[in-house]
C-alpha cells in the first residue's frame, strides 16, 4: 500500500546523534519520496518538530541531552505526529516503555530499510481518516468493520465478541505493533492490563479461525514480550 492518499511529499524528521545514521536515513528516505530534516539533539528535535510539522518522526532513544522517552513526552504534549523509535536497545522493557509512552512503533538497529519503510507507511496510514465503508482485505481474509462481518475465502467466520474486538483493533492498526497493555485495556478494561494470559488464549483461538495455517501464523504476528502486530498481505 503506497502513500497515494496524500498528494504532497511526506516530511520526515530524523532525531539521532549519529551522523552516519542520519546520512543513511536521509539517502534512504529521499530515495523513497520523503523530504527529510534532521536533528542531532533532543532539544533541537523538539524545536524542529514544531517548526517543520513533519508527517513522521524517527527518534533515537540514546540522545546526548535528553532521554528519547523525554523527547517523546514533550512531543506528545502538543502533537499526534506518528513517532517511530529507532534504537540499539533491544530489550522488551525498552520497547514496551517507548510504545506505552506514545511511540507508534519500534525498530531496532541494525534495521532493514525495506522493513523500516513499511513501518513508516503503517504509522502514517493510521492517522489518515478511514473510509466510511471501511473493508479490510488481506489475502483471502475480509473484515467488514461497519457490518462487523469477517469472511475467509468468502465464507463467514464466527468470532466471539472478544475475538472480534481483538481483530478489529489489530486491523485498524494494521502493520503497527499493539502492546499487551493497549490490547488488554481496550478489550477487557483498565483493570485487566496485567492479565496477559487472556491474550495468549484468545489470540490462539483467533488464529485458528483466520490464519491459513494456524501452526505458522503469518497474519497475526507475536512481538515477543511486547505485543501483537497484524501484517496485511499485499
Amino acid at each position: 500500500m503506497s502513500n497515494e492518499a496524500s498528494k504532497t511529499t511526506p516530511v520526515a524528521l530524523v532525531i539521532d546523534d549519529e551522523p552516519q545514521i542520519r546520512r543513511l536515513l536521509r539517502v534512504t528516505l529521499e530515495a523513497n519520496g520523503y523530504r527529510v530534516f534532521d536533528a542531532a539533539t533532543g532539544q533541537d528535535g523538539v524545536a524542529q518538530a514544531a517548526q517543520r510539522r513533519p508527517d513522521v518522526v524517527l527518534l533515537d532513544l540514546g540522545l546526548p541531552d535528553l532521554e528519547g522517552t523525554e523527547v517523546l513526552k514533550r512531543l506528545r504534549e502538543w502533537s499526534r505526529v506518528p513517532v517511530i523509535v529507532l534504537s540499539v536497545r533491544d530489550r522488551e522493557d525498552d520497547k514496551v516503555a517507548a510504545l506505552d509512552a506514545g511511540a507508534d512503533d519500534y525498530v531496532t538497529k541494525p534495521f532493514n530499510s525495506a522493513e523500516l519503510l513499511a513501518r513508516l507507511r503503517a504509522a502514517m496510514r493510521h492517522v489518515q481518516p478511514q473510509g466510511a465503508d471501511a473493508i479490510f482485505r488481506s489475502g483471502n481474509l475480509e473484515v467488514d468493520l461497519s457490518k462487523r462481518i469477517v469472511r475467509k475465502s468468502g465464507k463467514e467466520v464466527k468470532l466471539t465478541p472478544i475475538e472480534y474486538s481483538l481483530l478489529r483493533l489489530l486491523v485498524t492498526h494494521a502493520g503497527k505493533v499493539l502492546t499487551h497493555r493497549q490490547l488488554l485495556s481496550e478489550v477487557w478494561g483498565a483493570k485487566a492490563v496485567e492479565q496477559t494470559h487472556y491474550l495468549r488464549v484468545h489470540i490462539a483461538h483467533l488464529r485458528e479461525k483466520i490464519e491459513d495455517d494456524p501452526s505458522k501464523p503469518e497474519l497475526i504476528i507475536t512481538e515477543s514480550g511486547v505485543g501483537y502486530r497484524l501484517i496485511p498481505k499485499g
Binding site: T160, T196, R200, H202, T222, S224
Partner: protein, 613 residues
C-alpha cells in the same frame, strides 16, 4: 647440650595427684617457661610415680638422654627420697643414657614434701567431716547399748570410707583421726579416758587407726587421679575439637572465628585475635575481647618478639591479658589475647592455650599458602581464558567485517560488473552483517550472564507461540533445513521469560542447522510433563562424539569438526538462560543417529483459566 647434639629436647613435668603449694606451682611454671624459652618442648604427663611417668614419656618420644638434677638439699629425708629416685631411674632407664647434674639449691623456704599437711580442701569440708564423725558418734551411742563397744569402730570406719568419696584428703584424714579418738574416749572401756585396758582392744584400735588413714588416703588418691584423668580428657577433647574445626576452615576469617569461639568456651573468658591489617596490628572483628591502645602495644610486642607477653609472663606482666604469638617457623600471623582478670592460669591451661595458638598458626599458614596457590592458578586460568576470548572474538568479528569490507570495495570499483554480480556482492555484505550482528548479540548475552544480571521476567505464554515465533524469526537461517514441529492442539500456558527462552530455542535451532548438512530434518517438540515445560530440538546429523558431551556447554568450546561461523557461545547462552529459569538442559545422541537437546523449565504454578467469550 641439646644444641651440641643438634637434637630437640623435652622438659618433662610429671603431674602427681598430690597438690602443690602455690609457691611450688609458681616455681614449676617458671622453670617450665624458662625451658620453653630455651627451646624445649614441654611435656606434661600424669603419674603418681615420677620415675614411671618420666620413663613413659621418654619411651614415647624416643628419648636417648635423660638429665636429672642431683638433689641439693641437706635434710636426710630429701636425701633419702632423691637418692632413691636416682637409683630407681638408673635401674629402669635401660638403654637411655642418664646424666646427673648438680642442681641449684632454691632459695626461700622449702617445706618438706612428705610432712607438708595438705590444706587444699576448704574449711567447709573439714566442718562437714567433723559433723559426720559427730553424728556417727551419736548413732554409735545407741548402737553400743545393743552390740557392745567394738561395733561402733566398724560403723566409724564405714563413715570414713563414705566421707572419702565426698571430700578431699585432708578432711578424710581428720575424720579418721577424730573418729579413732572418739571411739577410744567414748566407747572403748574404760570409757571417758584415752586409756585402753586390754590388749585386744589396743590391737583393734591400732588396726582401726591405720586402716582408717590408709583407706582415706587410698580413696582420696583414686579420686584425685580420676580428676586428673578427667582434666586430661577435657584437654584432649578441647584440642581435638579445635583441630577438627580448624581443619575445616578454609579462610583466615574462619580460622579466627573458630579459635575465638573455642578458646572462649574452654577458658570461659573473652578472647581477641589481633592480626596484621594494613601493616598495623588490629583486633579481628570476631574477637570477644576489645583491646585498648595500651593492650595492643603489648600484643604488638608479642607479635614482633614472637614471645608470650602480658599477664602470667615475665614480659610486660602488667598487662590485663595474656598474649601468645600465632607463629610458625615461616611467619608470625598475629597474636592471641586471653583475658582472665580474676582467675589464675594453671600450667595445664597454659599448655593447652599454647597448643591452640600453635595449631591455629599452622592452619593460618596452610590457608595462606593455599590461597596463594589458588590465586596463581586463577590468574593463569584467567590469562588463558582472556587469550582464548580475544582470539575467538577477533576471529568472529573480523571475518564478517572482512567479507563486508571487501564486497563493498568490489562494488565501488567494479563499475563494469553485471547486475547479477552486484546482487551477489550485496548479498555477501548482508550475510556478513547478519553474522556480525549475531556475534555481537551472543557476546552481549554472555556479558549479561557473566554480570549475573539475568533475572527472568516471568509471564504466561503459549508454549506453541514460543516455537512458532522463533521459527518465523529464523526463516532465513533455517531455509535449508525442513523443520517438523510437534505441538499440542490447544494453547499451552507456561510461565517463562519469553525473550530468554526464545533466545535459547533460537540458539539450539541454529546449532542444529549449523552442525547438520542441508536438508537434514530438525524436529521440535514441546510439552508439559511432571511439572516441567519440556522442549526438545532433535536432528538426524552425525550426533555428538561421546567424549565431547560433557564439554559442549562450555564457553568458547567448539567441536573440532564444527563448521566455521559459530562462536562457541551459543550453547553456553542456552544453558545460562535455562538455568536462570531454574531449569536444566541436557544433550544426548539419539537412537538411530543425530543429537537431541532437551531443556526442562519447572512450572510450579498452575496455569490460570481463561473465560471463553
Amino acid at each position: 647440650m641439646a644444641d651440641g647434639l643438634r637434637c630437640r629436647w623435652l622438659a618433662v613435668h610429671v603431674e602427681s595427684s598430690q597438690s602443690l603449694t602455690e609457691a611450688a606451682q609458681a616455681q614449676l611454671e617458671k622453670n617450665l617457661s624458662a625451658a620453653r624459652e630455651l627451646g624445649a618442648e614441654v611435656v606434661t604427663t600424669t603419674d603418681d610415680d615420677l620415675v614411671t611417668g618420666l620413663l613413659r614419656v621418654a619411651r614415647e618420644q624416643n628419648v636417648t638422654q635423660i638429665i636429672v638434677g642431683k638433689p641439693a638439699g641437706t635434710g636426710w629425708l630429701e636425701w633419702l627420697h632423691g637418692d632413691r629416685l636416682l637409683k630407681r631411674l638408673a635401674r629402669a632407664s635401660g638403654d637411655i643414657d642418664l646424666h646427673v647434674v648438680r642442681a641449684q639449691k632454691t632459695s626461700g623456704t622449702q617445706t618438706s614434701r612428705i610432712w607438708r599437711p595438705a590444706f587444699a580442701s576448704n574449711f567447709q569440708q573439714y566442718m562437714f567431716a567433723a559433723g559426720v564423725v559427730a553424728a556417727t558418734g551419736v548413732l554409735n551411742l545407741g548402737l553400743m547399748a545393743l552390740a557392745g563397744p567394738r561395733v561402733p569402730g566398724m560403723v566409724f570406719l564405714l563413715a570414713v570410707v563414705v566421707l572419702a568419696l565426698k571430700v578431699g584428703r585432708g578432711p578424710v584424714l581428720l575424720a579418721g583421726a577424730l573418729s579413732a579418738l572418739i571411739w577410744n574416749y567414748f566407747f572403748l572401756p574404760p570409757r571417758f579416758t584415752f586409756i585402753i585396758s586390754n590388749v585386744e582392744d589396743a590391737i583393734l584400735f591400732g588396726t582401726y587407726f591405720v586402716v582408717a588413714l590408709v583407706l582415706g588416703q587410698l580413696v582420696a588418691c583414686i579420686r584425685t587421679q580420676e580428676q586428673a584423668e578427667r582434666r586430661r580428657e577435657e584437654r584432649a577433647v578441647a584440642l581435638y575439637a579445635l583441630t577438627r574445626d580448624l581443619a575445616e576452615a578454609t579462610s583466615r576469617d574462619e580460622v579466627v572465628w573458630q579459635l575465638v569461639s573455642q578458646v572462649s568456651r574452654v577458658f570461659n573468658a573473652p578472647v581477641a585475635i589481633a592480626l596484621l591489617m594494613n601493616d598495623k596490628l588490629a583486633a579481628h572483628p570476631d574477637s570477644s575481647l576489645t583491646l585498648s591502645e595500651k593492650e595492643l602495644s603489648v600484643a604488638d610486642w608479642a607479635f614482633r618478639q614472637r614471645k608470650a607477653a602480658g599477664r602470667f609472663t615475665d614480659n610486660l606482666p602488667g598487662a590485663e591479658a595474656l598474649y601468645l604469638p600465632l607463629a610458625t617457623e615461616r611467619k608470625t600471623f598475629g597474636v592471641l589475647a586471653l583475658s582472665l582478670p580474676n582467675k589464675n592460669l594453671t600450667l595445664a591451661q597454659r599448655d593447652l592455650l599454647e597448643t591452640f595458638a600453635r595449631q591455629a598458626a599452622l592452619i593460618l599458614d596452610r590457608v595462606e599458602l593455599r590461597n596463594a596457590t589458588e590465586q596463581t592458578r586463577l590468574l593463569a586460568e584467567s590469562e588463558k581464558f582472556s587469550r582464548t576470548l580475544l582470539n575467538s572474538i577477533s576471529h568472529e568479528l573480523r571475518t564478517p567485517l572482512a567479507a563486508s569490507t571487501s564486497a563493498a570495495a568490489a562494488l565501488a570499483a567494479a563499475e563494469a560488473a553485471t547486475p547479477e554480480q552486484r546482487r551477489e556482492l550485496i548479498g555477501e555484505i548482508q550475510e556478513a552483517n547478519a553474522r556480525l550482528n549475531r556475534v555481537v548479540g551472543n557476546l552481549l548475552d554472555v556479558a549479561r550472564l557473566e554480570s549475573g544480571k539475568v533475572r527472568p521476567r516471568l509471564d504466561w505464554h503459549d508454549a506453541r507461540d514460543l516455537v512458532q515465533t522463533t521459527l518465523r524469526e529464523l526463516q532465513r537461517e533455517l531455509a535449508a533445513h525442513p523443520v517438523k514441529t510437534e505441538l499440542p492442539a490447544e494453547p499451552l500456558l507456561v510461565r517463562l521469560d519469553i525473550s530468554l527462552m526464545q533466545h535459547a530455542l533460537a540458539n539450539l535451532l541454529l546449532n542444529s542447522a549449523n552442525h547438520t548438512p542441508a536438508g537434514t530434518l530438525i524436529e521440535v517438540q514441546v510439552k508439559v510433563a511432571d511439572g516441567n515445560l519440556v522442549l526438545s530440538v532433535a536432528d538426524r546429523g552425525s550426533g555428538i562424539p561421546p567424549e565431547l558431551l560433557p564439554r559442549i556447554f562450555d564457553k568458547f568450546f567448539r567441536a573440532p569438526t564444527a563448521p566455521t561461523g559459530g562462536s562457541g557461545l551459543g550453547l553456553t547462552i542456552v544453558k545460562g538462560f535455562v538455568e536462570a529459569h531454574g531449569g536444566i538442559i541436557t544433550a544426548a545422541n539419539r537412537p538411530g543417529g543425530g543429537a537431541v537437546f532437551t531443556l526442562r523449565v519447572p512450572q510450579p504454578d498452575k496455569p490460570p483459566t481463561v473465560e471463553p467469550g
